[in-house]
């Protein structure tokens, strides 16, 4: 199989949705599993972080975050000018693509692990750092500088949002407790991680099936954007990672992060901060097209690209 077996659960959910099965995953289970995944990813990153000198990361982080800011800044004019989207919609979609998808990251990590390919453990730190700047950029783009934005509330919404809070909280706990302190929790947070991811993907398949209608209404431009944007961003990610000196696995992961579009943190934040934007567009593209594209084709493609670039640089 070219893709991670866990992706089959996404396809099962998609099939159930399309067949209009009575399979429903309770909303509470969705929330519980997403809490679990966020915490577990944070913990794992924190344990890795404890092994590295934090200072060394700062330089890498500055570059990785700065380059990533190009993604929403480039996506916005494309959507606005070429796509003819309203300012708010273009800004919101740009924010979704500038931010990152935790689940896509997890599938990519599993795919690498399944092939025995190593990757820098502290990449989770970048996952956390990449999640929110694009949301702030999206709000700035939507406001167009013209109106006072309720920045206090928006920053609170983003920084105290549950994604950031659990990822950062997990990081800090993992870092403070270290691998030994966390060990008795491994059985829940690490051993079950992939099974939980499978369950979550089943759920996302069901949800994605419900978004396909929205997409048909959104038209061809958004479809093309949802396929080409991740490729462009993924290439940017692979290049940045290679320059910064990541391993092939690490470069594939950073490419995946750049290429992925947020559908947990971004929808929640944009709905409050840019209410005029139509969420059917951004979520339809991010979850209905880009997410499955990345799972099935994108991840292997970014890995291939990372391998090529690595060869060139070394």
């Amino acid at each position: 199989m070219p893709f991670e077996p866990v992706v089959l659960f996404f396809l099962l959910g998609l099939a159930a949705g399309i067949l209009r099965s009575d399979l429903k995953i309770p909303g509470v289970l969705y929330e519980s599993i997403s809490l679990f995944l966020l915490l577990a990813i944070g913990l794992k990153g924190g344990v890795e972080l404890a092994k590295h000198p934090v200072g060394e990361l700062l330089g890498q982080a500055a570059i990785v975050v700065a380059v990533a800011a190009l993604i929403p800044l480039a996506a916005f004019p494309v959507l606005r000018r070429l796509g003819g989207f309203a300012r708010a919609d273009a800004a919101s979609i740009a924010a979704h693509y500038g931010s990152v998808s935790v689940v896509t990251f997890a599938v990519a990590a599993a795919w690498l692990a399944g092939r025995g390919e190593e990757a820098e453990g502290h990449l989770v730190v970048f996952l956390v750092l990449l999640e929110f700047p694009a949301l702030v950029i999206g709000v700035l783009l939507a406001r167009g500088g013209s109106r006072e934005a309720p920045w206090g509330r928006i920053l609170h919404e983003v920084l105290a949002g549950k994604s950031i809070l659990l990822l950062v909280g997990g990081l800090l706990i993992g870092w403070a407790a270290g691998a030994d302190g966390i060990r008795p929790l491994d059985r829940l947070f690490f051993d079950l991680f992939k099974g939980m991811l499978a369950f979550f993907l089943l759920e996302m398949g069901l949800v994605a099936a419900g978004r396909l209608g929205d997409l048909r209404r959104a038209g061809g431009f958004l479809l093309g954007f949802a396929l080409l944007m991740p490729l462009a961003a993924g290439a940017l990610g692979a290049a940045t990672a290679t320059v910064v000196g990541f391993s092939v696995g690490g470069a594939a992961l950073l490419a995946t992060l750049y290429a992925s579009a947020s559908y947990i943190a971004a929808p929640a934040a944009m709905r409050i901060a840019v209410p005029e934007a139509n969420p059917a567009l951004s979520i339809g593209a991010a979850l209905g097209i880009t997410f499955p594209f990345n799972l099935l084709l994108g991840i292997p493609a970014y890995h291939w690209l990372a391998t090529q670039l690595h060869g060139v640089v070394r």
Binding site: G27, A268, P275
Partner: protein, 108 residues
């Protein structure tokens, strides 16, 4: 806190305002309602269908809530005017009002 003052004999009536809207709005509305004069509210999780399509509650972005507020007529009108101005254009939301007879009218 202006309250309609029913005649001595009639049972004490108030307005029941019911709002159904996107779950995203919960933190905003629970902040707005007391500021607009509501002494309390009750929320339940809901799903449904309307002009914004089906919202089946499968994930947070597709979840609704149903808020009830018992209050005097002036407060109800103030809340309705506020949410209409603030949220109606951009969010899935419906609202309706009815007359109810309340116990302990001083509470509302």
């Amino acid at each position: 806190m202006s309250q309609t003052n029913p005649t001595h004999d009639a049972p004490p009536t108030r307005k029941l305002l019911t709002l159904v809207c996107e779950a995203t709005l919960e933190p905003l509305l629970t902040h707005d309602l007391p500021a607009l004069g509501a002494h309390g509210y009750t929320i339940t999780d809901a799903r449904g269908r309307g002009d914004h399509g089906e919202r089946d509650g499968a994930w947070p972005a597709a979840a609704n809530i149903r808020i009830e507020v018992i209050c005097d007529e002036a407060t109800a009108r103030a809340i309705v005017a506020f949410v209409q101005q603030r949220y109606y254009a951009n969010y899935g939301m419906v609202a309706w009002l009815s007359d109810v007879e309340v116990l302990r009218p001083a509470k509302f």
